[in-house]
Amino acid sequence: MSSFSRSAQQWATFARSWLLIDARMQPPGKIASVCSVRLQGKHKPIYHPLSDIGDHVVVMNTRHIAFSGNKWEQKVYSSHTGYPGSFKQLTAAQMHQKDPTAIIKLAVYGMLPKNLTRRTMMQRLQLFPDDLLPDDILRNLTEELPQPREIPRKLSEYTQEERDAFPMLWTPPEDYRMK
């Protein structure tokens, strides 16, 4: 802002902020892409890959992410430690049950640039399975990012007025009983 003093402007430009995002009912890939952009600092006009200007990102409710399609059953996470017989393949559902934060962590790790700064950026990413956040992180948070996917409303969440306002598309025949 032009009304800031020089030191305040410097501080506002180069400070590392703490951002919050709620992953409830969101696809983990979209959450991860938003996180990776913020962790690298690509959302800032002063971006340079060598200047360490990424922000901290806190993701909550990672236990309640929603995969599209049948990815919970079809997506397989494979790992091999290098020793013989240690090839492990886990479906996304099994992975999520073992560790509710692993899916988003792996997704963000794969989206960050493959260099040495990746590990420091991963250290700046905080994942929480539920919306219970520690006090020191809560005090640091500055901004909440909007959710990438619009959550559809269940039928029970519509009010009676909205249901009445929706017109009936067809009339059942007079002798039809079961509904």
Partner: protein, 209 residues
């Protein structure tokens, strides 16, 4: 259609269809639609008032249809399929639960085509959207009724959230070998029947993720 039932004496039991209340004397029971509040507007066809008239030894029970209330007119009343009548073809999705709930039974199944009047293609599209909505958990009150005295097993894991699921959850196998880029085994999202839906973004609809 008036349901006429002539009884010999007042002592015989009155036969009625779908009545939960019964009281002596003049009975006012409503036939027709059950008390399902999730249905759209005010009754779609006239509810029948059961009127009992007694003259001497004969009792006449008649179902009198009330006149239907005013309903909004569809934009194209000449079409045979309700979706075409309201020009909703290619415009609905699995999230439009208010539309989908008009074509389902209370236990979640689809109503027959000969009753709803849908054309074949739209009936399949609605069935696909209803299936996806059930799997996404958008129709929580339309579950099939459990048998009497059945205690559901305590589920250890919380249910996984999903949306746009094409295949049934238990029928899908994991893709252990996805293959190289030119022959990759993709995971399908959504259904190709909805590929003609109106899209307001320049990107095409991706079914294979």
């Amino acid at each position: 259609m008036a349901a006429r039932c002539v009884l010999q004496s007042a002592g015989t039991a009155l036969r009625s269809v779908q009545s939960d209340l019964s009281s002596k004397g003049l009975l006012q029971r409503t036939l027709g639609l059950s008390q399902l509040t999730f249905l759209g507007s005010a009754p779609c066809r006239g509810l029948r008032q059961v009127v009992e008239k007694k003259d001497g030894k004969t009792t006449v029970i008649e179902g009198v249809i009330e006149p239907t209330s005013e309903r909004p007119q569809p934009p194209d009343p000449t079409a045979s399929c309700p979706i075409y009548r309201w020009s909703l073809q290619n415009k609905y999705n699995y999230t439009d639960v208010l539309l989908l709930s008009q074509f389902i039974r209370s236990d979640g199944g689809m109503l027959p085509r000969r009753i709803t009047g849908l054309c074949a293609q739209e009936h399949t599209k609605i069935a696909i959207c209803v299936q996806m909505a059930h799997r996404a958990g958008l129709l929580p009150d339309h579950k099939p009724p459990l048998p009497e005295g059945h205690v559901p097993k305590p589920k250890s894991n919380p249910p996984l959230n999903r949306y746009l699921t094409r295949y049934s959850v238990n029928s899908v196998k994991p893709i252990y070998k996805t293959g190289l880029k030119w022959c990759k085994k993709r995971m399908t999202v959504g259904h190709p029947a909805l590929k003609n839906n109106v899209r307001y973004s320049p990107k095409p609809l991706y079914i294979k993720h």
